[in-house]
């Protein structure tokens, strides 16, 4: 199924949820989203989202240097991010229930 359009609205929420569970670097977050079932999430979209959430203060970031290869940029959630996650989770639950209700009224 093509969830690209649907994803756009909820990517912030999904990324916040993943980082809230555990700090992660870009590709790590992508991997966890995919493992969670968002198969066709684009790498660059996730990185851009991380950057935007960081810019808005929802995330913090720190660089972990590596001897073997390029340094990794980790993201962690901030109190702002947590409250944003909470309110967006509530919104999502309400919104999806509403849409589901509408869809149930539509004759198949």
């Amino acid at each position: 199924m093509d969830t690209t359009q649907l994803l756009k609205g909820v990517l912030d929420l999904a990324v916040l949820a993943v980082v809230d569970a555990e700090d992660g670097y870009g590709y790590d977050v992508v991997r966890r989203l995919r493992a969670g079932g968002l198969d066709d999430v684009g790498d660059a979209s996730v990185y851009g989202t991380l950057r935007r959430l960081y810019a808005s203060g929802a995330l913090t970031s720190y660089v972990v240097p590596s001897d073997e290869g390029p340094h990794r940029k980790y993201y962690g959630i901030t109190p702002i991010g947590r409250s944003q996650l909470k309110s967006q989770t509530d919104d999502w639950a309400h919104f999806s229930a509403t849409v589901s209700g509408i869809l149930q009224g539509v004759p198949a």
Binding site: Y27, G42, D43, Y47, G48, T49, G69
Partner: protein, 350 residues
């Protein structure tokens, strides 16, 4: 950062992505693409190089998700400086236009109509400047030589210059850098007009063909426009003389061009070499083809060439103003045998 273990494909891809972020500040770029190599390395490890895809699309996605415009805007840093310079140029242009419009007779329009001539001239000046740098000003001709490439180069330069003038070639869309470069080149051409034309004082076709220096630069006596390289004096009896010192009407030594005939060697007096004593002995050059520094002790000392005439007709003037008059009859035909005896004053016996 240790870059040793980054695959070249990853480095290339990351560089291409960053190039599409060039309009952002370095901080923004770092926030957006920091750690990119690490993420891409993981991606490649997991799903192969082909998973990288198109860096342009990737950068657009990155920008969009970050809340920026997907297409790259004008590069801001360069734009700032560029805009300033472009502004100056435009302002100067406007001031000039205001100054020259409305002048009686529209002289500026006339000047503008001469633009094509300038395009040709600046091409000529450019090629001649190269010639000037390469061969020096003493050998400049009206036609650039440049080892025979002068004429084709000149034609090429004219074609390029005219096309640039018509904005057909470069700069296609006049960016500020191109404008500044063009302005600089034009100023250079203007500055070089005088040196180039100043180097063409008496240039002639013969000079261009032969490469010989013009007689205007000769340092010695000339005769009928050619350098005199040696002088063979004869006395009134028509006998060749040796060791004659010559001076001009001011008492200055009368010299021949020391480079006119490789190689003449000077006589000497107490003060050193003198170049006004004739005939000058002639000799070989050294290994370097230059005049020998100590010719008289070398294996090939200079020698006197035979004078051009064994004898010449004796000469006389009536009422000689000095010494005894020479009233000997002149013998128009030359006597073949040389008379080595010293010149004697002969009284007329008739």
């Amino acid at each position: 950062m240790n870059t040793a273990s980054i695959a070249p494909e990853v480095a290339q891809f990351a560089e291409a992505v960053r190039a599409r972020l060039a309009d952002l500040t370095s901080d923004e770029r770092e926030e957006l693409a920091g750690g990119l190599e690490a993420d891409l390395t993981d991606l490649v490890e997991e799903r192969g190089v082909e998973a990288l895809g198109d860096p342009v699309v990737y950068a657009e996605e990155l920008r969009t998700a970050a809340g920026l415009s997907p297409a790259m805007g004008q590069v801001r840093i360069k734009k700032a400086a560029g805009e300033t310079v472009a502004g100056w140029l435009d302002a100067a242009h406007d001031r000039w236009d205001r100054a020259v419009t409305g002048l009686p007779g529209s002289p500026w329009e006339f000047v503008v109509s001469l633009q094509p001539a300038w395009w040709v001239l600046r091409a000529y000046v450019a090629v001649q400047s190269i010639d000037l740098l390469m061969v020096g000003s003493w050998q400049m001709g009206w036609v650039p030589t440049l080892d025979g490439l002068g004429v084709p180069l000149l034609l090429l330069a004219v074609a390029l210059s005219v096309q640039i003038g018509r904005s057909k070639l470069w700069p296609g869309s006049p960016g500020v850098v191109a404008r500044v470069v063009l302005l600089g080149l034009n100023l250079f051409a203007v500055c070089m007009v005088f040196p180039v034309f100043g180097s063409l004082p008496n240039a002639t076709w013969a000079q261009i063909d032969s490469g010989y220096t013009d007689t205007a630069y000769s340092t010695g006596i000339t005769s009928n426009g050619s350098d005199v390289s040696n002088i063979y004096p004869y006395d009134a009896d028509g006998q060749p003389l040796t060791g004659i010192q010559l001076f001009d009407q001011y008492g200055a030594p009368l010299k021949v061009d020391e480079y006119a005939a490789p190689w003449t060697y000077p006589w000497s007096n107490v003060n050193g070499e003198v170049w006004n004593t004739f005939p000058m002995p002639q000799g070989a050059g050294d290994e370097g083809g230059e005049r020998q520094s100590s010719p008289w002790t070398s294996d090939t000392p200079p020698t006197f060439a035979l004078p051009p005439h064994d004898r010449v007709p004796s000469v006389t003037i009536p009422d000689a103003a000095y010494g005894e008059s020479q009233v000997q009859e002149t013998t128009p035909e030359m006597t073949p045998e040389k008379t080595p005896e010293k010149k004697k004053s002969q009284k007329s016996g008739r």
